[in-house]
Subunit: 338 residues, 2 copies
C-alpha cells in the first residue's frame, strides 16, 4: 500500500459519504439546498469533471493518521466527512468574502446562485459537518465524539479568527511576522492540525500520539502556506497555472511581502506609496528578491517542514504503510509544484 492505493480506496468512500449525507440528512423538502451543495462539489450535470472535486487532502490526512495509530480508518469516515464539509463550508464563505468568481475551474456558488443563497448554503454545510461529527460518537463512544466536536469547533473559531485578521490586513500598512503566523495558523494550519489530531483520537491512541500528530498538522500547515506564498511570487507560471506576479499585483499580504514591508527600504517605499502594477512590477520583483524575502520565505518553509518531520519521528507507528504514505503526502504538499 502506498499513497496512491490508499487514496484510491479512501476518496470514493469520502465522496460517497458526502453524497449520502447531503441526500439523507437534508430534508427532501429543501431541494434548493441539496442542489446548491451538489453544485459546489461538482456533482451536477454541468460540473461533472474530476478537476472540480477538490483533492480531499484533509480527510486523507485524518484517515492516514487514524491508520498509523492503529485505527480502522473505515470507522473514522464520519469524522473525515465532517472535516471535508467544514473545509468546503469555509471555501464557500471565503469565495464570497474575497469576491472570487472561480473555484476548481468553475464559477463559484455565489456567482451562480447569488450571495444570499450562498451564505445560507455555507451555513447549512456547517450544520451538516456537525451532524457527521456527531456520528463519531455513535461509531465509538460519546467521549470520543465530544473530544472530536470540541476540536472541530475550537478549530472553527481559530479559522474565523484567522480570516478576520486576513480581511483586516487588506486595509493595514503595518504588519509583523507574528501576525502573519497567527493569520496563517488560523486559515491553513488549524484545520490540518485538527484533521491529524481527530485521526489520532478516533484510533483511541495514546495522548502522546495525539499531541505529536496535532503538532505535525500545525507545522505542516505553516510550511505549506509559506511554500504556497513562495510559489505565488517565484513559482513557474506554467506549473502553477497562474501568473507568478499575481500575489504581488493583487496586493495579497503573503509572507515575502510581509517580510519586505517589515524590513523597510525601497520595496516598502514604492509598494506602500504606489502599490504594485504592470509598470513597476519588474522593479518590485527585483527589490523583493534583493532584500532577502525569497531566502527568508524558503527558510521559514524549511523550518516548519523540519518541525513537521521531526514530530513524526516521535510517533508510535501501528501501520507502516500508512506512515510511509503520510510522509509521501507531506512531501507532495511541501514540495508541490502547483
Amino acid at each position: 500500500m502506498n499513497l496512491k492505493k490508499f487514496s484510491q480506496l479512501m476518496i470514493p468512500e469520502i465522496e460517497d459519504g458526502i453524497k449520502s449525507t447531503i441526500r439523507v440528512d437534508i430534508p427532501d423538502s429543501f431541494p434548493g439546498l441539496i442542489e446548491m451543495m451538489n453544485y459546489h462539489f461538482g456533482w451536477l450535470e454541468n460540473g461533472k469533471s474530476q478537476k472540480s472535486q477538490g483533492k480531499q487532502i484533509r480527510p486523507i490526512i485524518l484517515l492516514l493518521c487514524n491508520s498509523i495509530c492503529g485505527g480502522d480508518w473505515y470507522k473514522a469516515l464520519p469524522a473525515a466527512i465532517a472535516i471535508e464539509l467544514i473545509h468546503n463550508f469555509s471555501l464557500i464563505h471565503d469565495d464570497i468574502e474575497d469576491q472570487s468568481e472561480l473555484r476548481r475551474g468553475r464559477e463559484t456558488l455565489w456567482k451562480i446562485y447569488g450571495i444570499p443563497q450562498a451564505i445560507n448554503t455555507g451555513d447549512a454545510m456547517f450544520s451538516l459537518a456537525q451532524i457527521n461529527m456527531l456520528k463519531v460518537g455513535n461509531e465509538f463512544n460519546k467521549q470520543i465524539g465530544f473530544d472530536a466536536l470540541h476540536i472541530l469547533n475550537e478549530t472553527c473559531l481559530i479559522l474565523t479568527g484567522g480570516q478576520n485578521l486576513d480581511i483586516s490586513f487588506e486595509k493595514e500598512t503595518k504588519f509583523s511576522l507574528e501576525r502573519y503566523l497567527l493569520m496563517v495558523g488560523g486559515k491553513t494550519a488549524a484545520l490540518l492540525s485538527a484533521s491529524a489530531e481527530i485521526g489520532a483520537i478516533t484510533a483511541l491512541t495514546t495522548e502522546s500520539n495525539r499531541n505529536v500528530l496535532r503538532n505535525y498538522g500545525h507545522a505542516l500547515g505553516l510550511a505549506f502556506q509559506a511554500w504556497d506564498d513562495w510559489l505565488g511570487i517565484w513559482g513557474e507560471e506554467e506549473q502553477t497555472g497562474k501568473s507568478t506576479s499575481s500575489d504581488l499585483i493583487s496586493g495579497k499580504k503573503s509572507l515575502p511581502i510581509i517580510f519586505a514591508l517589515d524590513k523597510g527600504g525601497d520595496f516598502s517605499r514604492i509598494y506602500l506609496s504606489a502599490g504594485a502594477n504592470q509598470e513597476n512590477f519588474q522593479e518590485l520583483h527585483f527589490l523583493l528578491e534583493n532584500c532577502g524575502a525569497k531566502e527568508f520565505t524558503e527558510n521559514i518553509a524549511k523550518q516548519y517542514t523540519d518541525i513537521a518531520l521531526k514530530s513524526l519521528e516521535e510517533i508510535q507507528v501501528s501501520d507502516q504503510n500508512a506512515f510511509d504514505s503520510l510522509l509521501e503526502l507531506t512531501d507532495l504538499l511541501i514540495k508541490r509544484k502547483n
Copy 2:
C-alpha cells in the same frame, strides 16, 4: 414567581453567560472577532442601550420548559446561551441576505464592518454556540449533550432550508400555503421548538413531556408568525413602529399575500402585474381584506394557538409558577402588539 420575576432572574444570567463565552472561549489573539460580537449584542460603548439587546425569548422558553419539567434551570444555562447564540448568528447572516441596515435601532453588523467581516463573525458565533452546547454534556451527561447537539444542528438545517425557500420566494410568482408553512416552519418555528425540547431534555424528563414541548414550540412559532404577518398589514402603525403598508409595499410574501395570490382574482392580477406601490396601495389593501385574507390569517393564527395551548394541557408539571409564566409568555407572543 411570575414571568417578570423569572425574566429578571434569567436575563442577567443569559447575558453574563454570553459575555463570558465571548471573553473566555475566543482566543485573545483575535480582538476583532470579540469586538464585532460585542457590537452586535449592543455591548460596545456606542450601543449600550436596553433596546439594542434583544428580548431573549428563546432562552427564556428553554429555561421555563426546563423548570416546568422539574429541572434546575441554572444548570441548563449553557443550552440557553447556545440557543441565543444560534439565534443571533442567524440574525447576522439574515441581515446581510436581506440587506437590512437596521436591527434593534442600530446599524447592522455588516453595515458597520462590511459584508466579509460580518459573514465571518456570524460563522464564529455559530461555532461559539456549538461550544456552549457541548458544555451541556459536561453539566449533565454525554448522552444529553449529544441529544441537545443533534436537535441544535438538525434545527439549523431546517432553519437554512426555510431561509433558502424565503430567498427563492422573492423571485417566484406561484405560492402555496404548504410552501409557506414549510418556510415559516424553518425560519421561525424550528428554533422555538428546539428551545422548548432542549429545555425538556436538560431536565431529564419523560419522553412524553419532551414531545409535548417540541410540538408546543412548533405550533407557537407558526401562530407567532401568522400573527406577525397579520400585524405587517393590519397592525396599527403607532403600535408596531413601522408603516402597516410595509409588508405589502416591500413585496414580502407574508401569509395574507400568499393566500390572496393563491386565490387569484383582482388582488392577484394587480399585484403580479404592477406590484404594490404608493398609488395602488389603498386599492390593494382593500382587495386583500375583501378576498378573505384577513380572516384567513386570523384563523391560521388561532388554529396554531389552539394547538400550542392544547399541547401544554398534556404536560406533567413539576413547577406551577414556571408553567403559568410560560402561558403568560405564550399569550404575550401570540397577542402581542409589537
